[in-house]
Subunit: 460 residues, 2 copies
């Protein structure tokens, strides 16, 4: 997951734009056309290898590319040419499905520093089949079904990654499930069982309990005896998260979640998972019991609207939680920060966590919940669904080519704009809180500030 | 350990000053002379109870009293009169031995807000024998040997505490050991196994490894497979702490401990126990591995000299560690604060920890190390030994009356001053670092600041 681990194809492959608005995109790296080394060719037909047909001419694959920071349309589908070269220890994976994460949404707005500058292929997790192995790879072979975790670069049909970043998919797990598992479950697992040290009879507050991490965390909580889970989500999702194991669902849109928690658990929480940041981190700290652990793992409060919302970013910075050790000592509290994207080079820790999670999967104790699956062509809609917190569980991309008839059904640019407007109208009906969300020209009344942060508490 | 739990005798008993300098002491609470309730009298002879001889006239006991903030001489031995009343749920303990803690030294200087204002009896832990039980006490009986943990008030011959604050002394444990165990072992246990989540193969940095908490923490680390312990202490203590389980002793007086740790473990530490505060907390944070936990549990850097050193206090505040959540997230780190004195009302957590510790004691895996035992009359010397970091292990007071011949050997006031001077002279010989430690009139050159903090890193 370090810089060195970045898939090579972005630099090596020849970009062949499918989109027509190439002019507005930042200039791509000058194309390099090195032939793929022998190791990579081993999987090609022997005939091709001996005849030395340059694979650049024959090998193409589709890739999503972030072409600049901004709205959903900044992620474009392109066709790349040339088989990526494999270095020692790397494998080439034919990607079947990819997971969307909140960090991808942050990255699109330029709010996530682990993604290199555009043009770049985003994507931190995928599933697929090993199609070629580099030298020194002993633990993976051609044909292995794997899930992959990488700093970026996995939203494409073909990905080259270190073999240590792949995990064998267990029997019976679909490619969609496998693409949904790594980021959410490793994040939830390490937060709860490493930093959180979750033990029987404890209480956990999970924000965005219907999101990917929220559902994973709830399932993992249920693997420990008598753990009480408090989960925030909008009311329409309560039935689902209750079935998933949330003991006390809380509708943060209509109620003060701090009050709701205190009503049931006056002393507060043993563990709080906080993906929100800003003023919610302060609330979480105050909601901790003695010996309680606050684990903050994101700043989704920063994300308001399709493009970078400077007001939301500034507000998040302004309210950013900062703690003195004397306060920690007097409160007997713990504050932890977690983000898988920054765990560079800690593949040993990650692999340990993954092995435990896969054991739990095999025992039927955890199972990724897929909200919806989208074609690569639909990445904008997929991102929108997640960003607008309309998902319950994981949003997945699959790499199957989109059937022609579906493409015809796809609304044109003009229609899309109308659709955006329709969605905005729908949102307005959802309640006054969201009314002015995307209306940046209008001056926001100050008393609306708190309420306006609320839509961000959903689903990460 | 809450305010309500404070021993009643301080308010109820009649102070009978042994010391002559009563004039300079803050005025004590107006004495109350309520007769002890029936529950307390149940243990007196039946004859006494029926004849209604007021116990105030016959029951006396010696108590150490902090008479005002300042140097060692502010803790005075007084004789109190009147058997303390027992409320429901309380027991009266005939104290045999008391433990000294760093918080007691802080308290004497007015730097510990969990001790009420003087006059007050300090002392957070002791051992002894139950001499009377109040109503509703079912788990303790007269004659039980117990160790006691309380917010304050245990440095006296007789203490009244809630029975839930007592723990049965296991077979074979001396009163000295029992007085040495509660604070240090519960502190070390909760830090390592609750916040720290210590697991096999991890590395732990223990500052003040020859102090009470340091020795307890080292022993507890050794109960987990393949844990590597780095411990700071002055060179003269290295042999002892190595025998106790410290893998890599580091002489912080002659070497930069950060460099020494990095030489052996370039990636840093999994857990760091920090009793120092100030700039050492910053160093600790930077020394953490990803997923590492910094547990800060004191500010002993504040303690420089016998009386409150405003410069040291200010410096500690100035350098006080403060952390933003974004930094924690990007570092994947945890910062925890611990202090047993603030764990009010968490007797369930404390009892769980204590039960585990006592099991480990019975298995021979942990054993308090006593540095030295002192009479109540010698409390000043006992505090001095600890404050000057000359102890290896626990400093204990015992309540046995001091033999007359020893008292004669005690130096008079004049001699004590000379002794202080001698000790100061000795300190000067200990190295340039300590040279100007107690010389507050002299302006300190800035480059000496770092070095001058070092003497505080020893033994908590």
């Amino acid at each position: 997951m370090s810089g060195e681990d970045a898939p090579a194809e972005q630099q090596n492959a020849v970009d062949q734009k499918q989109e027509t608005k190439a002019a507005e995109e930042p200039k791509a790296e000058p194309p390099k056309t090195e032939p793929a080394p022998a190791a990579a060719e081993a999987t090609a037909t022997p005939a091709a290898a001996t005849e030395k047909v340059p694979e650049e001419d024959t090998f193409t694959y589709r890739a999503l590319v972030l072409t600049g920071y901004g709205g959903y349309d900044k992620v474009k589908l392109q066709v790349k040419k040339g088989k990526p070269a494999l270095k020692a220890g790397e494998v080439l994976v034919r990607v079947k499905a990819c997971g969307l994460n909140f960090a991808d949404l942050m990255a699109r707005q330029g709010l996530y520093d682990r993604l290199p500058s555009p043009p770049v292929t985003p994507g931190m997790e995928c599933s697929g089949v090993v199609e070629a192995v580099g030298e020194e790879v002993t633990d993976r072979k051609v044909g292995d079904k794997v899930m992959v975790l990488n700093r970026f670069g996995l939203w494409q049909e073909v990905a080259v990654v270190p073999s240590t970043h792949t995990f064998l998919i267990p029997e019976g797990m679909s490619f969609e499930e496998a693409a949904a598992l790594p980021v959410n479950y490793i994040t939830a697992y390490m937060m709860l069982f490493d930093f959180g040290n979750l033990r029987p009879n404890q209480s956990v507050l999970i924000h965005a309990a219907a999101g990917g991490v929220g559902i994973a965390a709830t399932q993992l909580c249920k693997t420990v005896k008598d753990v009480t889970v408090f989960g925030t989500a909008s009311a329409s999702k309560h039935e689902t998260i209750s079935e998933g194991g949330v003991t006390h669902p809380i509708d943060y849109r209509t109620k003060d979640y701090v009050e709701e928690v205190r009503k049931i658990s006056p002393k507060g929480m043993d563990i709080i998972l906080d993906p929100l940041g800003g003023s919610d981190t302060h609330k979480a700290y105050n909601l901790l019991k003695p010996m309680g652990k606050l684990i903050t793992y994101g700043t989704s409060n920063m994300l308001a609207g399709q493009k970078k919302n400077l007001l939301a970013v500034a507000k998040n910075w302004y309210h950013q939680f900062s703690i003195h050790t004397l306060s920690l000592i007097q409160g007997n509290k713990s504050v932890c920060g977690f983000h898988l994207g920054y765990l560079d080079g800690e593949m040993e820790l990650i692999t340990q966590a993954m092995n435990t999670i896969l054991d739990l999967y095999k025992e039927g104790k955890v199972k990724p919940r897929i909200d919806s699956t989208w074609h690569l062509e639909q990445v904008g809609d997929a991102m929108r669904k997640m960003q607008e917190r309309n998902n319950i569980g994981k949003v997945i991309l699959n790499t199957e080519p989109m059937p022609e008839e579906e493409k015809k059904e796809e609304p044109k640019k003009e229609d899309k704009k109308k659709e955006d407007k329709k969605k905005d109208d729908k949102k307005k009906d959802d309640g006054k809180k969201e009314e002015k969300k995307d209306d940046k020209k209008k001056e926001e009344p100050k008393k609306e500030e708190e309420k306006k942060e609320e839509p961000n508490k959903e689903e990460k």
